[in-house]
Assembly symmetry: C2
Homo-oligomer: 242 residues x 2
DNA sequence: AAGTGGTCTAGACCACGTC
DNA sequence: ACGTGGTCTAGACCACTTT
């Protein structure tokens, strides 16, 4: 038989898409409860089980968080236990103290070929670049260079970064309405250049872990390109294969 | 109110545990179909929906693979598309040709302190050690040292490894009944020692990506400890954060 | 007591693969 | 035509949190 409906989409997935639009449009904000399953079922005129399956998928993607007896909440980067999600760095001894972010520079520029390609911008479009250090117990471990679309992050300055007590993604979420939901990282081993070596207080040429990341928001739209150099003498990058 | 049942376990999870025992005991082998949902529901005297939820979880953990219209199958490492699951290496240019495994050595030894701890063995217990090279398009990219419990892998020799056309985990699965289902990796950047540098044909001191892995089989039992040194001049380690 | 998500059931129908 | 997994429904009851 001919394949009649190559675009077949089950009901629960259509419901999911409607809810995704709600999230993207800001109908429900990070940290807030969304309506109960029964309410959503009534709104969309489907059974509770169908809404449930839509929510299940979104919870599996870390977009929503279910809490029995309380409701279903829009996920947020403020939750401290979600810190390991986007920074998989662990001390070689058991020390679990969280890192401190030390912003170094923040300036505006025009997107070059590569930045434009990665962030899906026009070459020459305004971008914002951040350089910062991550320290564990006062010792420098990561130096990051972060490229952001200038339009979205118009109000981002060094002062804003210095005043921020939370993670970078918490700041992006609360101050710029930009929520990171997924990222791809590419890891390589490189030799420390002079500038990085100075910041990390190691000899030039020291092997460093280069971590290149593209982060995406709703609709798989890339909104951050970053390159970090990790000093892995006292820390390691942890990954779970499953 | 007092928490009456701290050990509450829903029905579908009990079913799942029963099925896990079936997998572990070898009742169903990798690649084979398991009984239909209706059959399992009858066997366990529960509804099909409950069996379904048990299978859903196991499919999410890559233990089972559902195929609409055909049945549910025990996952296997033979599936070529599962190669990226445990070897997240990608060419920097788009070249997608798979790697070739070149076994170098295979010998028996007694577990030292660290190997015993990681593999949950008695110090002095027999272990098997494998050294091998991974080449892409003929060029050496990875040198691996692999520690295995000697009891389980008694028949493993260099000849067996050389005769094997599939992945290492396929061999372990088919020849030794040992299926890897999960692994933890720790990544660091290190300088190439002399031996590795020679094998990878790079100068001593070249930055290499050190990948230390512990792989687990059913019941979270560790059964492999490996350390790989990756040459990342032409390849990178890809990771998805979500 | 009331409201939320979590579990379990039973049955109907759909999409896919095989015979 | 048949068997498989996939979707959808409606209703009952359980576990957790708040009022």
């Amino acid at each position: 038989m001919a394949q009649e409906s190559p675009t077949f989409s089950p009901l629960y997935r259509q419901i999911k898409n409607l809810m995704l639009q709600g999230l993207e449009a800001g109908e429900w904000h990070p940290g807030e409860v969304i309506p109960s399953e029964a309410e959503l079922a009534a709104r969309f005129s489907v059974s509770q089980g169908t809404v449930r399956k839509a929510i299940d998928e979104m919870a599996a993607e870390n977009l929503l968080v279910r809490k029995q007896g309380k409701g279903t909440f829009v996920a947020t980067h403020d939750d401290p236990r979600s810190n390991f999600r986007f920074l998989r760095l662990m001390s070689l001894d058991g020390d679990g103290t969280p890192p401190r972010s030390v912003p170094l520079e923040c300036w505006r520029a025009k997107a070059g070929q590569e930045a434009a390609r990665v962030l899906c911008l026009e070459p020459g479009a305004p971008i914002t670049i951040v350089r910062r250090l991550l320290t564990y117990s006062g010792k420098p471990v990561v130096v990051d260079e972060i490229y952001l679309p200038g339009e979205v992050f118009r109000g981002l300055t060094l002062e804003v970064l210095q005043d921020c007590k939370d993670s970078l993604y918490s700041l992006f979420e609360s101050q710029f309405g930009m929520r990171m939901i997924r990222a791809e990282e590419r890891l390589r081993a490189v030799a420390a250049d002079r500038s990085s070596a100075e910041l990390l207080k190691v000899p030039e040429g020291t092997p460093l872990l280069s971590v290149e990341r593209v982060a995406y928001t709703y609709g798989d739209k890339p909104v951050e390109w970053r390159r970090g150099l990790y000093l892995t003498s006292g820390h390691c990058y942890v990954n779970e294969l499953s």
